[in-house]
Symmetry: C2
Subunit: 351 residues, 2 copies
């Protein structure tokens, strides 16, 4: 399994990506890497890790996409950016997946143009695992599509179900549509229509119906489907909430000698709590719906988080994600087509 | 200051509302209550609290809106529900504000029909205070309007600013528009147009611009404006996140003798943490934009939470909220009108 890595993206590049690669290599004996970036820097890292050298190929480039690079510039201006070359490696069949911690907008734009969407998919979506009371769930879309059609939400549901099987190892993932739930307020017309489509077409083996914001962390369903606007806001609100909690915890627990002593005694429990919420364990957001596996790592993560993003990419490849998405989409289209035939039947017999 | 109370709404009615009233009465010597509900039950409570008797008037009814009552039924069927009568008391001038912990959809529908919107306001919004790293902020809309126009968001911004002054006691509240922020994804057309409107009309003294989900808890702005769909999802996601955190904390800290001892030593710090996040301290969500102050208490809260909701209503009345909202809206309309005059001027001189 060959993985293309943009070593120059993210706040801690290239150190975090390189050390992440090393960690993944140790845990996965059968993967090799094609690494795109500044040759001199990359070589010096692998000189210090000689056992890895035969499993990595370094491809030099001096062009990089930064966080300030507009997507347009990344698309039209930078023809040799490490990000573009890494994606192209998947497009040309030289690698089976690509991972970058760089600029999301540029990465998404390049991936769409270079890899193209899977046949039948209108819009790719960004997905990510989240911790829940019952384990993990996947939420999508997290920001690729700020405006969606009911049909797009159905696509996301199919793609999310496949992610839940491949990466979260759920056998029969339940799928919920994110909505608001109070009495009169049964949601906007788009989610209502999406629910009707899913129910009518009977594509999802385990469709739950509507869920609300608090169902994400309650783990009510394995997949939570929403538009990119609400999904992005939900994800970032949760991140902010967790950060706030961590700050207040630290501040209050450190404020007296007694609580510091208590913290020391409860150290192992507190460490487990931290691990349960550690965003690095949930890092790795694939752009689902493309002809190739492209995973986005959080720009601010370290080697541990970057390694997790690479492993999400590996699981997506091994899980045959794109074949399964294509199958799901084909099944839906076939069903829609047969429904159209059904609908036209009376007209035919009336003639 | 006379407060109308629907004593029969919420999961712990009438006990939680009644005990909440008692707590508010103790802290606020100059308020009196008109309480709507089952006379027998209400009387027995006040018999046990004789000092309160002269400050409460009980109005008997045996019709109640439950959580399962459809808004339509509450509107057309139940002509004497405790919820309706309490709202009518504000409409007729017999009380200055109303508080209910009942069914949100029914409450909103009744309040809109009975109180009517303020002149110039197209859509009322549900607002609530949230804890932040810097203190508190107010988020709106939380679910009254799942689909909005750019103009509605401007209304919400004006109303949120007034809430921040009246209830959060901010002198010059900063206002942010909730959006998604990654590179290419600058949000949907509605928030972009709302930002343009606010910038052009220069109505808000302290407009910050776009904020993202994590800015809510970071306390980047004092007011966070969004549509009811995203706002409801953000609020409920945060609630779910906080609940998840609390569950894991409890579970892990109780799992060994050592961590239990640690918890005991850090008890006062942990209590402070719990208080900082206690949703009861942020309870009380007004329907802003109506001709009368109507505050929704969370249905699952207890007396402490219900008391806080009453106090939010008191602060909104004392802060002259509706006068200030009307002033803000009038200012905006005047500005829009003067802009129209400006635009028509060249045509006039050309004639």
């Amino acid at each position: 399994l060959v993985i293309a890595i943009d070593a120059m993206g993210g706040d801690f590049a290239p150190e975090a990506p390189l050390e992440g690669i090393r960690q993944v290599a140790v845990r996965n004996a059968d993967v090799t890497f094609k690494i795109f970036g500044n040759e001199a820097v990359l070589h010096s890292f692998f000189l210090a890790h000689p056992t890895l050298q035969e499993r990595v190929q370094i491809i030099h480039t001096s062009e990089y996409v930064t966080n300030d690079t507009p997507a347009r510039e990344a698309l039209r201006g930078l023809k040799c950016s490490s990000m573009r070359l890494a994606i192209q490696e998947v497009g040309s069949g030289g690698a089976e997946c690509v991972v970058s911690a760089g600029n999301t907008g540029a990465y998404m734009a390049l991936a769409k143009v270079i890899l193209k969407t899977l046949p039948g998919i209108e819009r790719p979506a960004i997905a990510r695992a989240m911790p829940t009371q019952k384990g993990e769930c996947v939420v999508l879309d997290l920001g690729a599509n700020v405006e969606v059609t009911p049909f797009n939400l159905v696509e996301f549901a199919i793609m999310g179900e496949v992610f839940a099987r491949s990466v979260l190892h759920k056998e029969n993932p339940s799928v919920g549509l994110l909505n608001v739930g109070s009495e009169e307020l049964k949601g906007n017309s788009i989610v209502r229509q999406a629910q009707e489509l899913i129910r009518e077409q009977n594509i999802l083996a385990n469709f739950y119906g509507f869920v609300e914001g608090d169902d994400i962390f309650a783990g009510t369903t394995d997949v939570v489907v929403t538009d990119g606007f609400s999904g992005n806001i939900a994800l970032k609100t949760a991140e902010g909430c967790a950060r706030f909690f961590a700050t207040v915890m630290k501040q209050k627990l450190m404020q007296s000698w007694l609580s510091r002593l208590g913290t020391l005694l409860a150290f192992s429990a507190l460490r487990e709590i931290r691990e349960r919420f550690d965003p690095r364990n949930y890092n790795g957001a694939p752009f689902l719906g493309l002809q190739g596996i492209a995973v986005k790592s959080h720009g601010g993560t370290d080697a541990v988080g970057f390694a997790r993003a690479i492993e999400v990419a590996i699981e997506l490849v091994r899980g045959g994600t794109n074949e399964k998405i294509s199958l799901g989409i084909a099944k839906m289209k076939a069903h829609t087509a047969s429904q159209l035939v059904d609908l036209s039947m009376p007209h035919c017999s009336n003639q």
